[in-house]
């Protein structure tokens, strides 16, 4: 029995930087490309110090040309490189959506499997910093709609550190969404923590009475809600999806068959959201196990407003999750 590795404490931001540093060291084909990733050190200071260590060829500052440099990343990947494209935030990724959908996700299938795109795209997502409507989108659900790419939502320090290497080994494009509210979060991690899987959901808290299904930034609000429910002797199970495409149906259905009640917490807008897809899958696969209608806690269908109290009211919060759970438990 080898001695357990020492545990270190670091922020979610540091964990991602370590992951990038690790892959750059281990594979010379890997390079990072994005707006202000080099001299500026990254809009969220994730890549600070990497330019000095790896030089301008492998830490490439780009002009503000999202469609251009994302397409360039796709091309480089098709020609054998392993690029990591940083799109700063999902809000700006809309300018690169054509390249992601019509080339990255499609070319393997369309070329009869002659060309693949082993590309990783990282972007921040989510609201909560009062950046107003154009800078506060949560559009993971849109990307999770597209066949041909994988979509990840690391919510813990361990996943922030471990998903990148596995994603880069994947022969197809992988999108990693990092919620802006998590960068400052500190967590504990084994000093030698390495790669993790990217296709399984994880039960972060086991429980018998109700399944709370969520991902990314909302995980911590959901765990807090579960704690609040525990105080009222409700035993809630919390599932962290980790992968939004493919969705790990097995873990979801096992949980729902046990608890017979489900609430899904999704920072996207309700209509046509990822939560809508998960609801449908539960009805398709576990309808006869359900005791109550599936609950959902999503963002209000409105552009995210600047004032703090309106932004709080617009996106999922702990009280809303607790309330939805109580309705499902018949205790509203």
């Amino acid at each position: 029995m080898t001695a357990p590795a020492a545990m270190i404490e670091l922020t979610y931001r540091d964990a991602i930087r370590e992951a990038i540093r690790d892959v750059l060291r281990r594979d010379k084909n890997v390079f990072l490309m994005g707006e202000d990733v080099g001299r500026y050190g990254g809009c969220y200071a994730v890549t600070k110090g990497l330019l000095a260590e790896f030089g301008p060829e492998r830490i490439r500052d780009t002009p503000l040309s999202e469609s251009g440099f994302t397409g360039a990343g796709i091309g480089a990947a098709m020609a054998g490189m392993r690029p990591i494209v940083e799109l700063m935030t999902v809000n700006f990724s809309l300018l690169a959506l054509d390249q992601i959908l019509n080339t990255a996700a499609t070319v393997r299938h369309m070329s009869g499997n002659q060309f693949g795109v082993p590309l990783v795209i990282r972007m921040a997502t989510g609201a909560g910093r009062q950046l107003a409507a154009q800078h506060s989108h949560s559009l993971e659900g849109w990307y999770a709609h597209i066949p041909g790419i994988k979509v990840l939502a690391p919510a813990t320090v361990e996943d922030a550190r471990g998903m990148l290497w596995t994603a880069l080994q994947d022969p197809d494009p992988v999108l990693i969404f990092e919620n802006v509210m998590l960068y400052n979060m500190t967590g504990r991690l084994a000093a030698d923590a390495g790669a993790v899987d990217i296709d399984k959901a994880v039960v972060r808290r086991t429980g018998r009475d109700i399944s709370l299904i969520t991902y990314g930034g909302s995980l911590w609000k959901t765990l807090e809600a579960a704690a609040a429910l525990a105080a009222e002797d409700v035993d809630a199970e919390v599932i962290d999806l980790r992968s939004l495409r493919p969705i790990d149906d097995a873990t979801i259905m096992t949980s729902v068959r046990k608890t017979r009640r489900a609430v899904i917490v999704d920072e996207g807008w309700r209509s046509g959201s990822l939560s809508a897809e998960i609801c449908t899958r539960i009805i398709e696969q576990a309808f006869w196990e359900l005791d109550v209608p599936i609950g959902r806690v999503c963002s209000e269908e409105v552009p995210i407003p600047y004032p703090r109290h309106l932004e709080i009211a617009a996106i999922p919060q702990v009280p809303k999750i607790v309330a939805a759970a109580k309705i499902a438990l018949g205790r509203a």
Partner: protein, 404 residues
């Protein structure tokens, strides 16, 4: 004296480490001067001061990480120096009433407007039909549990799987003695006693009897039921109820309420169906707007009522506001029953059992199915003449069952 505080430079900056002071106590500073350098996750950032005056005291030593808002130094402002007086340290710029947005000011707590309540299906249950979860429904089906005998503990009374499980464990199929659950027969007895006593005390009853040939009804029922599965079949009781309701619509003196010494005819016909409860007790729950209710629906509702009443599962909403009541003691009952009116109603129709009797038709005698219909009515409201016409109307309606 004014406090120079650790500034917030970004919505996601919670603290900063003071790595360099560019001024020392006694130095003169003016608005906009860079006075210190703070290390953040974004790197070292020069911090400017927004006051003009002299640095009095440094409050934080180097390389200490302090949260945003921590006082770093004290500055004696320009005004004070001129006036030579020590102004009370200025209250932090954010007066209590207007706390910085970081702390929610006395603004309305972000209550959840109704429109934003998670729209879980909290719709009222479909009128009459208890809501059953899929899991409960499947368990009930596989074990042949009659959901009508299960009380729901789920949201707004819905039946959930645990309820069916309890029903299975609590009541094994063996025929051991079962009391109607949830019903206090003794309490019911006292209530019936009170109502009957009041009725007899206050209502001057008069009684009328009328014999009606229901042979055509029986033949119509046999023809109709032959084409239908058991679930869709009709009984005489439904025809009887419908005929009373249709007639009551026209004879308004028998369909209403008597309150505070005056009679109020009802605008609709809510027919009370008197049902004996197993093990004793009686209830007369109301079916609403029976005069307009299609026969098939009336039959299904009456069957449902009887099933639930028998098991003692009565809903409070069903116990009120009948406008007239009909009672029947069934096939093994008696020829005619003279009932007691339920206050504040003003009439009760009784149906005896159907018997084969010799009957004269067109001068010839032959066997016919005859039923005796009785009327108990409130003489404060109606007289025998009107009562007779009312009974005759019921009898006439029963001659054309297909129109009911």
């Amino acid at each position: 004296m004014v406090e120079f505080r650790m500034p917030s430079l970004g919505a996601d900056m919670e603290a900063g480490t003071l790595v360099e002071w560019l001024v020392k106590p006694g130095d003169q500073v003016k608005r906009g001067d860079v006075v210190a350098v703070v290390e953040t996750q974004k790197g070292a950032i020069e911090i400017e001061v927004f006051e003009t005056g002299r640095i009095e005291q440094i409050l934080v030593d180097l390389n200490s990480k302090v949260p945003v808002g921590t006082p770093l130094a004290r500055i004696r402002t320009e005004l004070e120096r001129k006036a030579g007086v020590a102004l009370a340290p200025a209250a932090p710029p954010a007066s209590v009433a207007e706390a910085p947005p970081g702390v929610l000011p006395a603004a309305p707590r972000p209550s959840r407007p109704a429109s934003m309540a998670p729209p879980i299906a909290t719709l009222p249950s479909v009128a009459g039909r208890a809501r059953v979860s899929p899991a409960a429904r499947r368990l009930a089906e596989t074990h042949g549990v009659d959901l009508a005998t299960v009380t729901g503990s789920g949201p707004s009374g819905a039946i959930v799987r645990a309820d069916v499980e309890r029903r299975l464990t609590a009541a094994p199929a063996s025929a051991e003695k079962k009391r109607p659950t949830g019903l206090n027969l003794d309490a019911m007895r006292t209530a019936i006693a009170a109502a009957m006593a009041r009725s007899k005390r206050e209502i001057p009853h008069y009684y009328l009897e009328h014999q009606v040939d229901v042979t055509s009804c029986e033949q119509w029922l046999t023809r109709t039921n032959a084409l239908r599965p058991p679930g869709g079949r009709l009984l005489m009781a439904a025809l009887a109820a419908k005929s009373v309701a249709v007639a009551a619509r026209r004879f308004t003196l028998f369909n209403g309420f008597y309150h505070d010494d005056k009679y109020e005819p009802a605008s609709a016909v809510h027919l009370g169906i008197a049902i004996a409860i197993r093990g004793g007790g009686l209830a007369a729950p109301a079916l609403h707007d029976v005069d307009q209710m299609p026969l098939d629906e009336l039959m299904t509702r009456m069957r449902d009522l009887v099933q639930r009443m028998r098991a003692g599962r009565i809903r409070s909403s069903e116990m009120s506001n009948s406008t007239i009541t009909v009672s029947s003691l069934g096939e093994r009952g008696v020829d005619a029953l003279h009932g007691v009116i339920y206050p504040p109603q003003v009439a009760l129709i009784g149906f005896g059992k159907v018997v084969a009797r010799p009957w004269v038709i067109d001068g010839a005698i032959g066997p016919r199915s005859i039923v005796t219909i009785t009327l108990a009515a409130d003489h404060r409201v109606s007289d025998g003449h009107a009562g007779a016409l009312f009974l005759a109307e019921i009898g006439k309606l029963l001659q054309e069952p297909e129109k009911l």
